[in-house]
Amino acid sequence: MSINRRHFLATAAAASGALMLPRAVMAADTIKLGSILDVSGIFDAYGKSMDMAMRLAVDQINAGGGLLGKQVEVVAYDTQSDMALYSQYGQQLVREDKVDVVHGGILSASREAIRQIMHKNKTLYFYNVLYEGGVCDRNIFINGVTPAQQAEALVPYAMGKSGKKVYIVAADYNYGQITARWLQKFVADNGGETVGVDFFPLDVSDFGSTIAKIQTAGPDLVIAPLVGGAHLSFFRQWAAAGMKDRIALASTTLGVGNEHKVLTAEEGNGIMVAYNYSQELDTAENTAFKAAWAAAYGDSNSIHELAVSNYHGALTWAEGVRLAGSLERDAVVAALETGVSITGPGGKVTVDPKTHHAVLDVHLMEFENQGMRVVETLPQRQPIDTQSVCDLGANPGDNTQYEIQI
């Protein structure tokens, strides 16, 4: 059989048209929620529970009749703690699967890898993780805690319990670098002095010399924005060297992946943190959430800060869709910008229209017998760091991550 160009084009067009048909029909049946998380690899402590939370939220939405009369379907990809896979699966979500919204990304590097893909393809994007702040983009909604919400509360509390000299050990990528700068600012603001700052690539797991170096500097307090499984060794080795009772320790990340349950009680007790969520929170929403989680997954031990953030993200998006009465991106964004509030296991979470960040409760906590005991609650804190550089109302075309001048 001979094929000429015209014949080929006609066949190809017909074939591709036929291929597109069922897809178009299907798209009308369900709403597609894209989820992109590290469910395996060194960041799986974060991603696994986030994935469970997302599926729980979607199941609850579907059980309540879905959105706009349709069921929500999760299209999930596991990025295996490999940053290169984020752009690949991000493209796949928007081009192949044509999802209505994307939730996901864990590390800041992964968020920046997919944020531009979502922005360019006009696909609404939710990033539901505690991070360093400063992202200003009308296409993204963020409901994690930022440094001003967290460090501003944590630093004076931790310094008050220990002393004025602070040593910072941080992860060596944008989150750690920027958070370390914020910490230095808050230490100075509270009349303290930063006696040392060290950064560690994410695969470093030997901290022996660092622990000796910290002792040389003789701080009263060590603050550790360290990230991932390898960095967990720091807290192990710190305890193994017997440092725990000599120098106070605080962290802006430890516990968001339930690390306090991986460390033994002796290794963890007394470490100070500040987050939006603790399993020990005594509210009706949290009790109900834990019961629903236990019913779905056996027990509620795997819930953590980032899982709850992801759950909040799904609820916020659903609320926006309901309010807009449409899945169309601009309509949902406009609806969310009215200042939508939801009440989740971590308390009330409100969209800040100016920055697309969240106004939420922050709790000062201490590790105690593998739990996080709430010491003090700071209600409804504004993301003032990002607010100082970002105003999407005045400048809706903005698309940058500001490095906030401190």
Partner: protein, 288 residues
């Protein structure tokens, strides 16, 4: 004064961990001339063997020092029988084959244990030196490294088995003419090399979070140490571990851990440019 002591301990610890990481490779690569790219994976399997044994309720020291070397040694034995024995004398072929093996082991560990971080706590508590706290486990690592070097020296130099092994590595035909089976000697030597790699993985397991890909972190350091050490097995291992451990710790204390790693690699490059045969290719010639 206390600080000097602490720095010396950290330095000895760095040297000792290099000795541990490299000992298995020194035998497999240094003696048997097999480029074992799966060396890191043998260590990784050692780590998993220890963690599994400890979780099954075995005493941690028995798990690390006895069970793990046996388990990993046996895996090494299987590997030698199935793959390596067909490749003796073919340097590049061993490299390709062991690279494949390393991928296989990573996949296997991921299937069994999941692509997730596991770990155990260190069994020895810290103690005080003046104003400083030191990780007590460091001393255990230093002790094991010293004992290991002593044992290797004693076996290779002092026993008939060691003599036969060394002889068979240099002239397998002569060893065969004298009535020894080179094939069995190679098999036993590879078993020892794998067991030592497993031991290293076991000893380091309580200090790190273990994932199936953990082996990759050790392979470069192990090869650099063994190659820079040169032809003399034990002297080379001691000299290059000492040198690299010292340099990396100096820079770690003076600047940062990242610069410490960089300094180690730079030192290796300079050293191999000046002494392409390794340190013991020029100095300490003829030693063990």
């Amino acid at each position: 004064m206390d600080l000097v002591f602490v720095i010396i301990v950290e330095m000895l610890y760095a040297v000792a961990s290099l000795v541990l990481i490299s000992a298995g490779l020194a035998i497999v690569f240094g003696m048997m001339k097999i480029i074992n790219l799966a060396h890191g994976e043998f260590m990784m399997m050692g780590g998993y063997a220890t963690i599994t044994a400890v979780k099954l309720g075995v005493n941690i020291f028995i798990a690390m020092l006895i069970i793990t070397p046996l388990v990993v040694g046996l895996i090494g034995l299987v590997v030698e029988r199935l793959v390596i024995r067909h490749l003796y004398g073919r340097l590049v072929a061993t490299m390709l084959a062991t690279w494949g093996l390393s991928l296989f082991f990573i996949g296997l560990a991921t299937m069994i244990f999941g692509n997730t971080t596991t770990g155990i706590s260190t069994p020895i508590s810290g103690f005080t030196v003046g104003n400083y706290q030191v990780n007590g486990y460091n001393f255990f690592i230093i002790l094991v490294a010293i004992l290991l070097l002593g044992l290797m020296y004693a076996v290779l130099k002092g026993t008939r088995l060691g003599l036969i092994a060394r002889g068979a590595m240099q002239r397998p035909d002569m060893a065969a003419a004298l009535g020894y089976s080179p094939e069995r000697i190679y098999m036993a030597t590879f078993f020892c090399g794998a067991a030592l790699s497993g031991l290293a993985g076991a000893i380091l397991a309580p200090l790190v979070g273990l994932v199936p890909t953990s082996g990759g972190a050790y392979i470069a350091k192990a090869f650099i140490t063994v190659i820079a050490g040169g032809p003399s097995l034990i002297t080379g291992l001691m000299v290059s571990s000492g040198l690299f451990g010292f340099i990396s710790q100096i820079f770690t204390f003076a600047v940062s851990p990242v610069i410490g790693e960089v300094a180690l690699l730079l030192a290796a490059v300079v050293l191999l440019r000046l002494l392409p045969q390794g340190v013991t290719g020029k100095f300490f010639r003829g030693r063990m």
